[in-house]
């Protein structure tokens, strides 16, 4: 493993953990992949390519257990807030690493919400409920954190892939789903859990997922259609 990137990642997790805010967050996005790789014994089907964006989903923006100033906490470890004037979204940047906060859709059409109890803003995206409902706790680099269960991550990625407008991201998401689909096909526990989560999806989500896996993942297609 390359130390620098994981040092920065560990620093972020440690700071958020020490501040007490990690309880309110779920790590999502491509930085879950190294964690899954560790959980599943370095299985080679799990891609290691990831962006320098580290995405955290705020579990319940309206109901924060303990107010924490995440903005200040991140600045204390060298992250600079970068402010998008059009969207009001604030991200945090250091050496090209970008930390972004996300939220599931709530009532209203806001694309960005303010979360004053955490002193951050979060981008509102669809289908984030999947990561919230199927979050699990794990330990990585000595820190307890929440990530989506691998089957939930995979199915979510399959849905999101269909929505991508950027071809490169679309292709990357498809490659992630293909790899994770193959891993799921190797492990009976993951197969049954994937099917269980899929069956709990609304019909419209199932339809989108099936359309995607029919094209990209014979393993998931076979599993979900049976």
């Amino acid at each position: 493993m390359e130390n620098e990137q994981f040092e920065i990642f560990h620093k972020i997790l440690e700071k958020l953990n020490d501040s007490g805010s990690l309880n309110e967050l779920i790590l999502i996005g491509s930085w879950c992949l190294p964690i899954y790789s560790k959980m599943y014994g370095g299985n080679t089907e799990i891609q290691m390519l990831r962006t320098k964006d580290i995405d955290f989903l705020v579990k319940n923006p309206k109901n924060i257990y303990k107010p924490v100033n995440i903005d200040l906490a991140l600045q204390e470890i060298g992250f600079e807030p970068t402010f998008d004037a059009t969207s009001v979204l604030t991200k945090y940047d250091m050496n090209g690493f970008d930390i972004e906060f996300l939220s599931a859709r709530m009532r209203g059409n806001e694309r960005v919400i303010k979360i004053p109890q955490l002193s951050i803003t979060a981008q509102v995206l669809s289908y984030m409920e999947i990561a919230i409902k199927y979050a699990m706790e794990t330990e990585y680099m000595g820190i307890k954190l929440k990530i989506p269960e691998l089957p939930a991550y995979t199915l979510h990625k399959a849905i999101v892939q269909t929505l991508r407008k950027n071809d490169a991201k679309k292709e990357k998401d498809a490659a992630t789903v293909i790899g994770l689909g193959r891993l799921i096909a190797e492990l009976p526990d993951l197969q049954s859990r994937t099917l269980q989560i899929f069956n709990e999806f609304p019909k419209s989500w199932q339809k989108i997922t099936l359309k995607m896996v029919k094209i990209h993942s014979p393993e998931l297609n076979g599993l979900l259609r049976n």
């Binding site: 493993m1 390359e2 130390n3 620098e4 990137q5 920065i8 190294p34 370095g42 080679t44 089907e45 799990i46 891609q47 290691m48 390519l49 990831r50 320098k52 050496n95 090209g96 690493f97």
Partner: protein
Amino acid sequence: MSVVGGILREERDRLEAQLLKYENKLLSLPNATVKKRDKYLYYVRRQGKKVLTEYIGELSSEKAKKAMEWDSERKKYKQRKKTTLSELKEVRRLLGKRAI
């Protein structure tokens, strides 16, 4: 050392391990394709310039079904190996460009 270089090296290592996994899988399967002829199944393999045919059994036999399963596996892993090689080539090229 750059972070992006680090991520690319991890991916290169993963792809190399994956390539080895697929090659080992292919080695564990019969090195031949199957061919149906009438109601029977045969292995067909090359030995230098020669094409050798080996009788497996009737299509309905367990032996033939197993051979067709292996053939399907072999095609699958051949394709995966091909994709992995292509991805590995790309990652190595990117790493080469970064002179790391």
